[in-house]
């Protein structure tokens, strides 16, 4: 018996993995990937709620589509920034990019 809670748990685990990646990855591209994992966790949530709470309305799926679109835009811009950082800092390790401190 797989119910809503199973999917929610799965998405929570995936989300936490994403957070862990964001917190620990040194590579900027790695951080972007972790963020994509978090997006996917959120999408699973939306689709699961759509399936189990309002099976006929499809609102959750529509939202998922929008989130995927925004995620695509985010990835594009993010990677462009990564390239720019690479060009200016000769590397993409975020712990080298710490000019915003005292």
């Amino acid at each position: 018996m797989i119910g809503l809670n199973h999917f929610l748990t799965l998405s929570t685990i995936l989300f936490c993995i994403g957070i862990f990646g964001v917190l620990t990855r040194r590579n900027a591209i790695g951080i972007l990937m972790s963020i994509e994992l978090m997006f996917n966790a959120v999408n699973i949530n939306f689709v699961a709620f759509s399936r189990f709470v309002t099976p006929t309305a499809l609102v959750g799926q529509i939202f998922a589509i929008f989130i995927i679109t925004i995620a695509a835009a985010e990835a594009t811009v993010g990677l462009a920034i990564v390239l720019l950082i690479y060009r200016n800092f000769k590397g993409i390790n975020v712990d080298n990019i710490n000019i915003m401190k005292w």
Partner: protein
């Protein structure tokens, strides 16, 4: 329906703003804007007077300006027959003076500024006339004072001009002090600033008699200052340093009449306080006589006219004090036209000869026919020769004076009429007839341009006919239009008419005999009565008197304060205090360097230590920040769950 009247003062204000901010550099455009505004105002004033004639019920419009915890100060306009007449007079004279100024001020480097000031003055004066309460009238009262100051000192490079401006401002301010005290007294007693509400309070006897009298006398102080009455008259002759159109507009026809207007406007108060009214009448009477007698011997054409103005204003004040509301305002109305004409004519002469001294003129009649003829018409009018307008208004005044039990006012009135006729025709004969005394100036003289002579002709027309609205045989004349409480129908007093005309004629004849035919030598008279001549020539020594009793004591007091008090006492105190301070400083220095500095440095190093500790948090590593964010998130969720 008369609510549009607020436009009348607004137009010149707009002109002023436009000239100052936009068209200052373009002289022609500036003068056109200024003239256009005042002419439009004139049209509106004609509409106002026409509708007031049709329906003489006073109308009032106001809005709340300040709301001080239930005590409201309002701004508004009050239109009754007096306002309508004043609007008409001010607009007429002002627009003619505007036009005349185009010729007179030609080539002046501050041409545009002159017109902006004229517009500002028109705004202030029209606002003063329209005001419906004491606060508003005071505001505009000061505004006209300001523009008067600005215009007297218009040629401020000349020291006499800037001094005259200051003198006028300070002297009238002395009166204004009384004015504001009077306003405060009356307002405190009546609880309102509004004219009509206050008059109602006066008429129903809500204000104690003593307070009313006191308030009325203080109020009159303002009129004394502004209308140059004894003893504050000294500023007006000096004010002749300003450009002549200004003298005509401000110091003859309109602004100086503001005091008369004020007394007329607050007539109810003076009727309820006969003691104050007697003060008013006496001051007016003294002024009329004194100024006329000074005018007999002055040599500066504008100064003679200035003393004539003071004397005529005294006439009006006197008759208002005697309760002659209609007579006073009627004379104000006719006087505005012929006095403006006299000044503008004098301006035309000065323009042609470049001098103010009548003894440097002479024989100008053939050269300046229009100026001479209009000037003589105005002189006839002011002398009160039948049937010019001055005759009717002077006759009204004398009629009122003859009803007063004490004949002194009537006698002085007739005397003044005679003196007026004499000094005016002395001017006429010396200036326009006889042999030219200064050949160079005579040859230089020429008739003024059209833009100056046309206003002269219009004013001459008004000087002859404006008074006809007050002919006593007329059923619906001036007296049934401008009146206090009930229509005033003066019964013609033929004896008085004949007497006053004879006196005026004899004055003229005396002038003719002395200065034209030379059958009586002025020099011999001078030699025969040296003392009266000197007194009159020196204007009763008023300036010297003020110099001695007011200015010198103040200067001496200042000198004493400086030498004794400042140097002797204050400086020593200051030095002592200084030494003491030095001692205190020494003590303090020790305290500072040992205790305060220690504390300050301690605090500073504490702050620095905390800072260098805390700045470790600011790593610049985004992931550290993200960590803190999620840590906070966990905390929040835990907090919500528990």
């Amino acid at each position: 329906m008369l609510s549009f009247a607020w436009i009348i003062p607004l137009l010149p204000l707009l002109a002023f703003i436009t000239i100052v901010f936009f068209t200052r550099r373009n002289q022609k455009l500036s003068s056109l804007i200024s003239i256009g505004a005042i002419c439009l105002s004139w049209i509106f004033s004609v509409i106002v007077i026409a509708s007031v004639l049709k329906n003489p019920v006073p109308s009032e419009f106001e809005f709340t300006w300040l709301n001080l915890m239930g005590f409201q100060v309002k701004m508004g306009i009050l239109i009754d027959s007096l306002t309508a007449i004043m609007l008409f007079v001010v607009c007429t004279v002002s627009s003619l003076v505007h036009i005349y100024s185009v010729g007179y001020m030609q080539g002046d480097p501050r041409f545009s500024r002159f017109f902006s000031f004229l517009s500002l003055f028109s705004f202030s004066m029209l606002g003063l006339v329209l005001a419906n309460n004491f606060v508003e009238i005071f505001v505009f009262w000061e505004l006209v004072g300001l523009t008067s100051y600005l215009l007297i000192g218009f040629w401020f490079e000349k020291k006499t001009a800037s001094d005259a401006g200051k003198k006028a401002f300070i002297t009238t301010r002395t009166g204004d002090l009384g004015f504001i005290v009077g306003i405060l007294i009356l307002t405190t007693a009546a609880g309102t600033f509004n004219f009509r509400e206050m008059f109602h309070a006066v008429e129903t006897g809500q204000i104690p008699f003593g307070i009313l009298t006191l308030g009325a006398i203080f109020l009159f102080a303002g009129a004394v200052g502004k209308s140059a009455q004894f003893p504050l008259h000294v500023w007006l002759p000096d004010a002749m340093e300003g450009p002549t159109p200004v003298s005509a507009l401000i110091h003859a026809a309109t602004m100086v009449a503001a005091g008369v207007y004020l007394v007329a406007r607050t007539m109810t108060i003076y009727l309820a306080a006969p003691n104050a009214a007697l003060v008013v009448a006496s001051i007016g009477c003294i002024t009329a006589f004194m100024a006329a007698s000074i005018g007999l011997v002055q040599n500066d054409i504008k100064r003679v006219l200035a003393y004539s103005t003071i004397s005529q204003l005294g006439y009006m004040i006197m008759v208002l004090g005697l309760g002659g509301y209609t007579a006073g305002t009627f004379h104000l109305y006719t006087h505005a036209f012929f006095k403006a004409l006299l000044f503008l004519g004098a301006g035309s002469v000065i323009h042609a000869t470049q001098t103010n001294d009548i003894w440097e003129m002479g024989g100008l009649y053939p050269k300046m026919k229009i100026t001479a003829i209009t000037f003589i018409i105005a002189s006839l009018s002011i002398a009160g020769i039948f049937p010019l307008s001055g005759f009717w208004s002077k006759d009204e005044i004398l009629t009122v004076a003859s009803h007063y039990p004490n004949p002194i006012f009537l006698i002085v009135g007739i005397l003044v009429a005679g003196m007026t006729a004499f000094y005016m025709f002395r001017l006429c004969f010396v200036t326009f007839f006889g042999k030219p005394r200064d050949q160079h100036k005579f040859e230089h003289a020429h008739e003024s341009p059209k833009v100056m002579t046309v206003p002269l002709m219009i004013l001459a027309f008004l000087s002859v006919f404006a008074g006809w609205v007050g002919i006593p045989w007329l059923q619906h004349g001036y007296g049934s239009f401008v009146f206090h409480q009930e229509p005033h129908h003066a019964e013609p007093n033929y004896i008085l008419m004949i007497v006053s005309t004879l006196v005026a004629l004899s004055g003229i004849y005396l002038a003719y005999a002395m200065y034209y035919k030379k059958s009586i030598s002025p020099e011999k008279l001078k030699a025969k009565f040296p003392f009266p001549y000197k007194v009159l020539y020196n204007k009763y020594y008023f300036d010297e008197l003020y110099q001695i009793i007011i200015i010198n004591p103040i200067m001496k007091l200042s000198g004493f304060l400086f030498n004794r008090v400042d140097v002797g006492v204050v400086d020593r105190l200051v030095n002592g205090a200084g030494n003491f301070t030095v001692f205190l400083s020494d003590v303090k220095e020790w305290f500072d360097s040992h205790i305060v500095d220690g504390a300050v440095n301690g605090i500073a190093s504490l702050a620095r230590g905390t800072g260098s500790g805390l700045r470790r948090i600011q790593t610049g590593q985004l992931q550290n920040y993200a960590f803190v964010i999620f840590f906070g998130l966990v905390l929040i969720i835990l907090f919500k769950l528990s």
